[in-house]
Protein backbone atom coordinates (compact mmCIF):
# COMPACT_ATOMS: atom_id res chain seq x y z
CA UNK A 1 0.00 0.00 0.00
CA UNK A 2 1.50 3.33 -0.97
CA UNK A 3 1.17 6.43 1.12
CA UNK A 4 -1.61 7.89 -0.92
CA UNK A 5 -3.88 4.88 -0.38
CA UNK A 6 -3.11 4.78 3.31
CA UNK A 7 -4.12 8.36 3.86
CA UNK A 8 -7.30 7.86 1.86
CA UNK A 9 -8.24 4.93 4.11
CA UNK A 10 -7.62 6.95 7.23
CA UNK A 11 -9.74 9.76 5.94
CA UNK A 12 -12.60 7.37 5.28
CA UNK A 13 -12.45 6.02 8.80
CA UNK A 14 -12.59 9.46 10.29
CA UNK A 15 -15.65 10.15 8.21
CA UNK A 16 -17.61 7.02 9.05
CA UNK A 17 -16.96 6.76 12.75
CA UNK A 18 -19.03 9.67 14.04
CA UNK A 19 -21.86 8.59 11.79
CA UNK A 20 -21.93 5.10 13.32
CA UNK A 21 -21.79 6.60 16.77
CA UNK A 22 -24.74 8.87 16.03
CA UNK A 23 -26.75 6.00 14.57
CA UNK A 24 -26.19 3.69 17.51
CA UNK A 25 -26.95 6.33 20.12
CA UNK A 26 -29.90 8.09 18.70
CA UNK A 27 -32.66 5.61 19.62
CA UNK A 28 -34.32 5.63 23.01
CA UNK A 29 -36.88 3.45 24.72
CA UNK A 30 -40.01 5.49 25.23
CA UNK A 31 -41.81 5.11 28.56
CA UNK A 32 -44.90 2.97 28.23
CA UNK A 33 -48.10 2.02 29.98
CA UNK A 34 -49.77 -1.28 29.10
CA UNK A 35 -53.31 -1.91 30.19
CA UNK A 36 -55.79 -4.61 29.40
CA UNK A 37 -59.54 -4.53 29.14
CA UNK A 38 -61.86 -7.41 28.27
CA UNK A 39 -61.67 -6.49 24.62
CA UNK A 40 -58.23 -5.06 24.01
CA UNK A 41 -54.69 -4.31 25.05
CA UNK A 42 -54.02 -0.59 25.42
CA UNK A 43 -50.44 0.57 24.92
CA UNK A 44 -49.52 4.20 25.58
CA UNK A 45 -46.08 5.63 24.90
CA UNK A 46 -44.46 9.00 25.59
CA UNK A 47 -42.84 10.14 22.37
CA UNK A 48 -42.26 13.87 22.62
CA UNK A 49 -41.40 15.52 19.32
CA UNK A 50 -42.81 12.79 17.11
CA UNK A 51 -45.46 13.58 14.49
CA UNK A 52 -48.02 11.23 12.91
CA UNK A 53 -46.13 10.74 9.68
CA UNK A 54 -43.05 9.56 11.56
CA UNK A 55 -44.59 6.68 13.51
CA UNK A 56 -44.38 3.04 12.51
CA UNK A 57 -46.17 0.24 14.31
CA UNK A 58 -45.65 -3.36 13.26
CA UNK A 59 -46.85 -6.67 14.61
CA UNK A 60 -44.79 -9.67 13.59
CA UNK A 61 -46.26 -12.85 15.11
CA UNK A 62 -46.52 -11.71 18.74
CA UNK A 63 -43.78 -9.11 18.59
CA UNK A 64 -45.03 -5.55 18.62
CA UNK A 65 -42.52 -2.96 17.45
CA UNK A 66 -43.10 0.77 17.72
CA UNK A 67 -40.81 3.28 16.16
CA UNK A 68 -41.09 7.06 16.18
CA UNK A 69 -38.66 9.46 14.61
CA UNK A 70 -38.18 13.09 15.46
CA UNK A 71 -37.50 15.82 12.95
CA UNK A 72 -33.77 16.43 13.33
CA UNK A 73 -33.99 19.47 11.06
CA UNK A 74 -35.63 21.33 13.91
CA UNK A 75 -32.31 21.26 15.72
CA UNK A 76 -29.95 21.98 12.86
CA UNK A 77 -29.55 25.71 13.41
CA UNK A 78 -29.15 25.31 17.15
CA UNK A 79 -26.04 25.26 19.27
CA UNK A 80 -26.36 23.45 22.59
CA UNK A 81 -25.26 25.45 25.60
CA UNK A 82 -26.76 23.35 28.36
CA UNK A 83 -28.24 19.85 28.21
CA UNK A 84 -30.14 17.64 30.60
CA UNK A 85 -31.69 15.28 28.11
CA UNK A 86 -30.55 13.80 24.85
CA UNK A 87 -32.58 14.11 21.71
CA UNK A 88 -33.24 11.02 19.66
CA UNK A 89 -35.67 8.73 17.95
CA UNK A 90 -37.75 6.18 19.81
CA UNK A 91 -37.99 2.44 19.41
CA UNK A 92 -39.44 -0.24 21.60
CA UNK A 93 -40.49 -3.85 21.20
CA UNK A 94 -42.96 -5.83 23.27
CA UNK A 95 -43.81 -9.52 23.23
CA UNK A 96 -47.54 -10.01 23.46
CA UNK A 97 -48.97 -13.09 25.12
CA UNK A 98 -52.35 -12.59 23.53
CA UNK A 99 -53.60 -13.16 20.02
CA UNK A 100 -54.38 -9.79 18.48
CA UNK A 101 -56.82 -8.96 15.72
CA UNK A 102 -54.30 -7.25 13.45
CA UNK A 103 -56.90 -5.61 11.24
CA UNK A 104 -58.48 -3.88 14.19
CA UNK A 105 -55.36 -2.15 15.53
CA UNK A 106 -55.89 1.57 16.05
CA UNK A 107 -53.34 4.28 16.75
CA UNK A 108 -53.69 7.92 17.71
CA UNK A 109 -50.97 10.45 18.44
CA UNK A 110 -51.69 13.58 20.45
CA UNK A 111 -49.24 16.00 22.08
CA UNK A 112 -46.39 13.52 21.80
CA UNK A 113 -48.33 10.61 23.29
CA UNK A 114 -48.97 7.54 21.14
CA UNK A 115 -52.04 5.52 22.05
CA UNK A 116 -52.46 2.04 20.58
CA UNK A 117 -55.56 -0.11 20.86
CA UNK A 118 -54.90 -3.75 20.05
CA UNK A 119 -58.19 -5.68 20.00
CA UNK A 120 -57.97 -9.26 21.18
CA UNK A 121 -59.20 -11.99 18.90
CA UNK A 122 -62.71 -13.11 19.75
CA UNK A 123 -61.58 -16.51 21.07
CA UNK A 124 -59.10 -14.79 23.41
CA UNK A 125 -61.61 -12.55 25.08
CA UNK A 126 -62.23 -13.53 28.66
CA UNK A 127 -65.36 -15.42 29.41
CA UNK A 128 -67.12 -14.68 32.63
CA UNK A 129 -67.08 -17.67 34.93
CA UNK A 130 -70.34 -18.11 36.75
CA UNK A 131 -70.23 -19.78 40.12
CA UNK A 132 -73.15 -22.09 40.52
Amino acid sequence: MDNKTASATQHKQAETQPEMRAESLRYYQPLADILETDQALLVTLDMAGVTKDRVEVSLEKNQLTIEGRIDTQRYESLKAVYAEYNIGHYRRTFLLSQEIDREGIQATLNDGVLQLTLPKRAEEQARKVTVH
Partner: protein, 139 residues
Protein backbone atom coordinates in the same frame (compact mmCIF):
# COMPACT_ATOMS: atom_id res chain seq x y z
CA UNK B 1 -31.79 9.80 6.65
CA UNK B 2 -28.05 9.31 6.67
CA UNK B 3 -25.54 11.84 7.78
CA UNK B 4 -23.71 13.10 10.79
CA UNK B 5 -25.30 15.41 13.27
CA UNK B 6 -22.59 17.45 14.91
CA UNK B 7 -25.26 19.25 16.91
CA UNK B 8 -26.25 16.03 18.58
CA UNK B 9 -22.67 15.06 19.26
CA UNK B 10 -22.27 18.40 20.97
CA UNK B 11 -25.27 17.53 23.08
CA UNK B 12 -23.74 14.22 24.22
CA UNK B 13 -20.50 15.85 25.25
CA UNK B 14 -22.33 18.65 26.94
CA UNK B 15 -24.59 16.37 28.87
CA UNK B 16 -21.75 14.34 30.33
CA UNK B 17 -20.02 17.57 31.28
CA UNK B 18 -23.18 18.79 32.98
CA UNK B 19 -23.61 15.47 34.76
CA UNK B 20 -20.08 15.65 36.05
CA UNK B 21 -20.49 19.20 37.23
CA UNK B 22 -23.75 18.21 38.92
CA UNK B 23 -25.48 21.48 38.37
CA UNK B 24 -25.19 24.49 36.16
CA UNK B 25 -25.20 28.23 36.00
CA UNK B 26 -28.76 28.12 34.70
CA UNK B 27 -30.28 26.28 37.61
CA UNK B 28 -27.88 27.03 40.43
CA UNK B 29 -26.06 24.40 42.46
CA UNK B 30 -28.91 22.00 43.15
CA UNK B 31 -29.18 18.86 41.06
CA UNK B 32 -32.35 18.10 39.17
CA UNK B 33 -34.50 15.19 40.16
CA UNK B 34 -36.12 12.54 38.04
CA UNK B 35 -39.49 14.02 38.75
CA UNK B 36 -38.92 17.34 37.05
CA UNK B 37 -38.99 17.36 33.27
CA UNK B 38 -35.54 17.89 31.88
CA UNK B 39 -34.58 21.01 29.97
CA UNK B 40 -32.13 21.80 27.20
CA UNK B 41 -30.83 25.26 26.40
CA UNK B 42 -29.65 26.17 22.93
CA UNK B 43 -28.31 29.22 21.21
CA UNK B 44 -30.15 30.07 18.04
CA UNK B 45 -28.38 33.01 16.52
CA UNK B 46 -28.63 35.77 19.11
CA UNK B 47 -31.45 34.09 20.98
CA UNK B 48 -31.76 31.47 23.65
CA UNK B 49 -34.04 28.54 23.01
CA UNK B 50 -35.19 26.48 25.97
CA UNK B 51 -36.84 23.13 25.28
CA UNK B 52 -38.60 20.71 27.61
CA UNK B 53 -40.11 17.36 26.76
CA UNK B 54 -43.64 17.40 28.12
CA UNK B 55 -45.59 14.63 26.41
CA UNK B 56 -49.30 14.74 27.06
CA UNK B 57 -49.35 18.28 28.44
CA UNK B 58 -51.67 20.91 27.05
CA UNK B 59 -51.30 24.69 27.14
CA UNK B 60 -53.67 24.86 30.09
CA UNK B 61 -51.38 22.60 32.11
CA UNK B 62 -48.49 25.06 31.89
CA UNK B 63 -47.57 28.39 33.43
CA UNK B 64 -44.74 30.52 32.15
CA UNK B 65 -43.47 33.77 33.56
CA UNK B 66 -40.42 35.92 33.14
CA UNK B 67 -39.16 38.20 35.87
CA UNK B 68 -35.85 39.99 36.18
CA UNK B 69 -33.47 37.56 34.49
CA UNK B 70 -35.34 34.38 35.25
CA UNK B 71 -37.74 32.21 33.31
CA UNK B 72 -40.09 30.21 35.49
CA UNK B 73 -41.92 27.23 34.08
CA UNK B 74 -44.41 25.29 36.13
CA UNK B 75 -46.93 22.67 35.21
CA UNK B 76 -48.72 19.49 35.99
CA UNK B 77 -49.22 16.21 34.22
CA UNK B 78 -52.01 13.86 35.05
CA UNK B 79 -52.11 10.61 33.19
CA UNK B 80 -55.68 9.52 32.68
CA UNK B 81 -56.22 5.80 32.76
CA UNK B 82 -59.33 4.09 31.45
CA UNK B 83 -61.49 2.53 34.08
CA UNK B 84 -62.16 -1.19 33.97
CA UNK B 85 -58.65 -1.93 32.80
CA UNK B 86 -56.02 -3.99 34.55
CA UNK B 87 -52.43 -2.87 34.51
CA UNK B 88 -49.54 -4.79 33.00
CA UNK B 89 -47.01 -2.03 33.08
CA UNK B 90 -47.06 1.53 34.31
CA UNK B 91 -44.02 3.66 33.56
CA UNK B 92 -45.55 7.01 32.63
CA UNK B 93 -45.97 8.98 35.80
CA UNK B 94 -47.95 11.96 36.99
CA UNK B 95 -45.85 14.87 37.99
CA UNK B 96 -45.88 18.46 39.05
CA UNK B 97 -42.95 20.75 38.49
CA UNK B 98 -41.74 24.27 39.00
CA UNK B 99 -38.41 25.23 37.54
CA UNK B 100 -36.54 28.49 37.22
CA UNK B 101 -33.80 29.20 34.71
CA UNK B 102 -31.52 32.18 35.12
CA UNK B 103 -29.96 34.01 32.20
CA UNK B 104 -26.76 35.97 32.35
CA UNK B 105 -27.57 38.20 29.40
CA UNK B 106 -30.39 40.67 29.48
CA UNK B 107 -33.51 39.23 27.83
CA UNK B 108 -36.14 41.31 26.09
CA UNK B 109 -39.30 40.13 27.90
CA UNK B 110 -41.63 41.62 25.27
CA UNK B 111 -40.18 39.40 22.58
CA UNK B 112 -40.27 36.04 24.37
CA UNK B 113 -42.21 33.44 22.40
CA UNK B 114 -43.40 30.05 23.59
CA UNK B 115 -44.75 27.12 21.63
CA UNK B 116 -46.05 23.73 22.72
CA UNK B 117 -46.01 21.24 19.90
CA UNK B 118 -46.08 17.44 19.86
CA UNK B 119 -45.24 17.34 23.55
CA UNK B 120 -42.23 19.64 23.29
CA UNK B 121 -42.26 23.08 24.86
CA UNK B 122 -39.97 25.57 23.13
CA UNK B 123 -39.37 29.02 24.58
CA UNK B 124 -37.47 31.54 22.52
CA UNK B 125 -35.78 34.28 24.53
CA UNK B 126 -34.18 37.09 22.51
CA UNK B 127 -31.20 38.81 24.04
CA UNK B 128 -31.63 42.60 24.31
CA UNK B 129 -29.96 44.61 21.58
CA UNK B 130 -28.12 46.60 24.23
CA UNK B 131 -26.70 43.43 25.78
CA UNK B 132 -25.18 42.11 22.56
CA UNK B 133 -21.46 42.56 22.06
CA UNK B 134 -20.53 45.33 19.65
CA UNK B 135 -17.42 45.67 17.59
CA UNK B 136 -15.64 48.94 18.26
CA UNK B 137 -14.07 50.67 15.33
CA UNK B 138 -10.76 52.32 15.91
CA UNK B 139 -11.14 55.88 14.78
Amino acid sequence: MVGTHPRFDALWDLQSAVEQAFGSSFFGPSPWTNASPKANVFNEGDNYLVTLELPGLKKEDLNLEFKGSALRISGKRQVSLPQEASTHRRERSDYQFDRTLNFKEEIDPEKIKAELKDGVLAVLLPICESAKPKAILIG
